[in-house]
Amino acid sequence: MRSPFAYTPRPGPLQEASPGAAVVYLGSLVVVTFLYSNPAVLLAAGIAAVLAGLIAGAREAVRAALWMGLTLAVLIVAVNALVVDRGQTVLLRLGEWPLLGRVDVTAEALAAGAVIGLRAAVAMVAFGVYSACVDPDRVLRSLRPIAGRSALTATLISRLVPVAAADAARLRDAGHLRGPAAAPLGRAALARRLLAGSLDRAVDVAATLELRGYGLNAPRAERARSRSRYDRRFYAVGVTLLVAAIAGLPLGVDDVGFYPTVEISIGGSTLALCVLLVVAGLAPLRRRPIRAASQAAPGVSRA
């Protein structure tokens, strides 16, 4: 079964963009989430990441990333509520706990945890969209001239991870199929066998790489593809977001405090940044062909 985060080639601006443009675009959303604690901004960044993924056709990746991200967010909220005893609004007094001492659940700790969780969820969605939409071969090849050995290692790992996952699934199946009198599989035996198998697989994959000429010191190949016509759009959107986010900090867009009481300011500049973020989520929309636009011109009936 394919991972929902596996790259799937589709015709679309994000998939056609060069890796650099895609990284700048999706990376700018992640940077914003780490610069800001304002929940409105984080929510807008989340909407942008989800929109980008849905428009790019990575629905499965978005769904899986949201599920994982929100699960993680709930966990973070719970842990933060238990370990942080700051905040004035006590919602629940849980008494003395071993190691944690006196535990009071405050609304402020819950809110602070929710913001951290939201940040993690948005970052996961952005990474999920990146994983499903950006061709890893192009990324590795663009890295190869800069860091050849690292690119080789990354290639080996990127190939071995799915192979090892398939091996693990097969070994688990084999474990289920063992007769009742056979020695049980056991985690240690499974891990040992998996490690040994992975090493064998690594040797096979490395042999294939060797045969493909990885060891050759050939002159660097020219770029196979010209830049996508969408590159400029993604670079522009990414850079605009970064500039707006950095400029927004001294303007008070992120004037947020959680302790001792929650204080969140949502002014005009905050709303402007939020709107900019949500609009940025539309960047992977395909440009409508000129002919189609003229067909839809007023006065032309399509009855």
Partner: protein, 581 residues
């Protein structure tokens, strides 16, 4: 530059001179004193039993031995004039392409186009020539529609083609293939062999192909090199090879050759076409059958009178099924629907499968790659949950999946199967002598029997008998005929003890030797279910070589064919032998 072209073709594609090689820490050499030459444009078949050194020879020819594997080497290997012992595999890759047995580890990129382009990129080829080479090789291998797909969405046959494309894209003079059809269904396997023949004829590519299923590729080859324990036992034409194999190593005989040998007809045929021509010369099949074929044509679908007689005489399966038909089924599969995948890629892998298995029945489950064979077995073993329908197995199921080594996780056989019940399971498969052995030191066939013992262990005690269904998924991958014969004997023994045995296999000849019933799956649906001799003689791809030669309903094995041809020197067929014994 015609002179250049001529001079490059005058250099042998592969020249090996007194090559001896030992893997690191190996007790004996894998290759011992090999000398051979392969001329430009030859199509050579590398034959031999399992572990005779075929793969090592191929790896020496592409530079992986000794550069990648280490070990000790003496003698010389030259590929298109390049010294393979001095050059590394990367340098040799311009003149030699290599396709290994396991498709999973042969691809290193995410998309097909990137995978095929990689060797050219590594050589610094400009984009225009890369694009053209990728397009041309994709067209030659009929895979242009795959170029934009990711490799993890391809079937086994498609991955093999992609690996072949990546090996061919640099236009090498020599292509080495290590059992490329072992994981392919008969259709994809035949397609691959004839694709290689076409590349050989049209592009002048020299081919060295290691294979166990010789009947599949002998007719396409110009030359056969048979290896035996690390050295060359035979080197000559396919016709001479068959004569040699008949005397020196009958396990390497093709079914067609064995048919002719048993029927006393010379010369032995290298393929179906040659066999049919020879039979036509001798005397037409129709005449020998006493008008059987004529009756078949005349009756237009109605079973000819001789067909039943023939089934009784050579098949025996109908008669054997008689008493079992009343016994309660060992396994009962009713209206089974299975859905696999996720999200937008959900698809029905099994669609309303109905099947009953009687105790002691031996069934071959066949069909193309992706037809649903493995899913059916996995659902019966409860590894997969159906969306509708039921798979009920009386006394449980023991399923041995495709890779027996997945079951071997400890360093001693006794550690895998401790106690009396473990010993009993080992006795069932005839491995009670190997208690102290390391499973990795066992032969391929022994490892498979050990894995079978692991899935059987203790089930006999639970139900006071063997499991109702013993299922094996593609158990003959990479096996030579001697090991397949061992497996047939084991299957017969298990069935004789009352277990229904179901084997998913692509190997038509193997199915003909062990199965009494064949279930043919197509796209998740049972498209044929009946007597093995009838199913395996009633088609083209899912038919044995003997069936394709004689085209007579019910005649699938060389022994049956020899009886049919009526020479009188043929042994009694399997069915009669069983009935009598």
């Amino acid at each position: 530059m015609p002179e250049l072209a001529v001079s490059s073709r005058s250099v042998p594609a592969l020249a090996i001179d007194r090559l001896t090689y030992s893997y690191p820490r190996a007790a004996r050499p894998a290759l011992a004193g090999i000398s051979m030459q392969l001329g430009a444009g030859e199509f050579a078949l590398l034959a031999g039993r399992s572990a005779c050194g075929k793969s090592t020879l191929l790896r020496a020819a592409c530079g992986l031995v000794p550069h990648f594997h280490g070990g000790e080497i003496s003698g010389g290997v030259s590929v298109a004039g390049l010294d393979a012992v001095a050059c590394g595999p990367g340098e040799l890759a311009g003149v030699v392409g290599y396709v290994a047995q396991d498709p999973e580890t042969q691809v290193v990129s995410t998309t097909v186009a990137a995978e095929i382009e990689l060797p050219l990129e590594m050589r610094g080829e400009p984009p225009a020539s890369r694009a053209r080479a990728v397009e041309e090789v994709a067209l030659a291998l009929a895979i242009p529609q795959l170029l934009d797909r990711t490799v993890d969405t391809l079937s086994g046959g498609e991955v093999q083609r992609v690996a072949l494309a990546a090996a061919l894209v640099t236009r090498p003079r020599l292509v080495l293939l290590d059992e490329p059809t072992s994981q392919l269904d008969p259709v994809a396997g035949d397609e691959l062999i004839w694709l290689l023949r076409r590349l050989n004829e049209e592009w002048g590519v020299t081919i060295l192909l290691a294979e166990h299923r010789l009947e599949r590729c002998l007719a396409a080859a110009d030359r056969v090199i048979a290896m035996d324990s690390g050295s060359i036992g035979f080197d000559g034409t396919p016709g001479d090879f068959l004569a040699w194999a008949g005397e020196s190593d009958p396990a390497l005989e093709t079914p067609g050759a064995r048919l002719f040998s048993l029927a006393g007809i010379d010369p032995l045929p290298t393929g179906v076409r040659e066999a049919r021509a020879a039979l036509a010369r001798e005397q037409s099949v129709e005449e020998r059958a006493g008008g059987l074929a004529g009756a078949r044509v005349a009756s237009q679908g109605a079973p000819p009178p001789r067909k039943l007689q023939l089934s009784e005489r050579v098949g025996g399966a109908l008669r054997r099924q008689g008493p079992r038909a009343t016994a309660p089924p060992a396994a009962s599969i009713r209206d089974l629907w299975v859905e696999l995948g996720s999200g937008d890629e959900l698809r029905d892998v099994l669609r309303g499968v109905e099947l009953k298995v009687r105790p002691g029945e031996r069934i071959a489950l066949m069909g193309r790659n992706g037809a649903g064979k493995s899913t059916l077995l996995r659902t019966a073993a409860r590894l997969v949950q159906p969306v509708r329908g039921k798979a009920e197995v009386a006394n449980g199921i023991a399923l041995l999946t495709q890779n027996p080594t997945d079951f071997l996780v400890r360093e001693r056989v006794e550690d895998e199967l401790p106690g009396e019940l473990g010993l009993a399971a080992l006795q069932t498969v005839g491995l009670e002598h190997a208690l102290d052995a390391d499973p990795r030191d066992l032969s391929g066939g022994e490892r498979q029997r050990l894995a079978l013992a692991i899935v059987l262990a203790g089930r006999e005690k639970e139900h006071q008998s063997l499991p109702g269904l013993i299922a094996l998924d593609e158990p003959t991958r990479g096996m030579d005929r001697a090991r397949k014969d061992e497996l047939v004997r084991l299957i017969e023994r298990l069935a004789a003890d009352g277990a229904g045995v179901m084997v998913a296999t692509h190997d038509v000849e193997f199915a003909a030797t062990f199965a009494e019933r064949v279930v043919l799956l197509g796209d998740g649906v049972v498209i044929a279910d009946g007597d093995a001799s009838e199913i395996l003689s009633g088609g083209w791809y899912f038919a044995t070589e003997v069936a394709r030669i004689l085209d007579v309903p019910g005649v699938v094995t060389p022994e049956q064919g020899a009886v049919f041809l009526g020479d009188g020197r043929a042994p009694r067929p399997q069915g009669e032998r069983e009935a009598g014994d």
